[in-house]
């Protein structure tokens, strides 16, 4: 490949990565998952380490999926990975309903402010059940 084309391709790749990376971080920031985690665990001073963890996670994930790396290790590693993956998506989903102001309006409209936890559980169980149903049954049909 001539040098000029190589430089061009490198530039395009870099620009694309930059756009996706900033978008990803902006998404995380808007939903406020990291501040919520530090608040829960009272580890505000480690916030920079958390930033690096998100960045490194994105880079390693991107690298491994693009390079088709294979680790050839035990399949039981998938259990903690799946759990963390789920907690992360769950927090994103919870944060998303929050941004959309669903709860206060729902509680006001149907006047069940004191039963809101029960309604929250409806969503939680709905997600867990829907997800299990999807993977175990729905995929085959």
């Amino acid at each position: 490949m001539p040098t000029i084309e190589a430089i061009f391709v490198i530039f395009i790749g870099f620009a694309g990565g930059l756009a996706v990376g900033t978008g990803f971080i902006a998404f995380l920031v808007v939903l406020g998952v990291i501040p919520r985690l530090t608040q829960l665990t009272k580890t505000m001073k480690w916030i920079h380490a958390y930033e690096w963890s998100a960045v490194l996670g994105a880079v390693v994930g991107g690298w491994m999926s693009l390079r088709n790396s294979v680790l050839y290790t035990s399949k039981y590693w998938l259990i903690p990975i799946g759990l963390f993956h789920g907690v992360f998506i769950g927090m994103l989903a919870a944060a998303l309903t929050e941004v959309l102001n669903v709860w206060p309006i729902l509680a006001k409209r149907i006047g069940v402010a004191d039963k809101i936890v029960v309604l929250l559980m409806a969503i939680v169980f709905g997600k867990v059940f829907g997800s299990l149903f999807h993977w175990i049954y729905f995929i085959d049909h």
Partner: protein
Amino acid sequence: MEKTVFVKLRHRVQVKPNATVSIGDISQLIGNDRHTIERLKEIPLYRIQPSDKNIVILDVMRVVDAIVHTDASLEVQTIGPAQTIIEVIYKKRKFSLVYFLLVWLLLFIGSGMAIMNFHEDVSMQQVHQRLYTMITGEKIDKPLLLQIPYSLGLGIGMILFFNHVFRKRINEEPSPLEVEMFNYQQSLDQYVILHENKESMRRIADD
């Protein structure tokens, strides 16, 4: 100083229909002379009309006006909010179990559907199959070893975000949900204060 009365309006007061609201109902009063204070608290300010529906706003100016009219020698100092929101409680809304169960089911099925659509939308099945291959080197159609912990984690993550499990143990800070409810109530209050209070706006066509 001797004749000063400090007035602080309450933010929100609930009353019964057709009640008469007195100064003591909607505000705290402090002054040197206990007797005067007790007398001032009894002054009726407003009688709830059926046409008021369920929100009435009373301005602090009304309270000052009533106090000054009773005893012109008093000096009134106001502290805190400038108006009180009076909520007329008609009858306790009966809590219907059927209604509640319907909403519960709606949310349950709706969120289940939403998560399935999300999985399809981002092709999560392929991602999981790929991840399985990345870790173990084997190809598999249904990587349930990854997907079942994932599904459980989904619920844990949501509960964690709203902090309902460890509420007492971890800290006393309000959960995001409580803050959100508070903000929403604040905005509603702000709105009714401006829109239900005839004194706060003056339009050209008013006369």
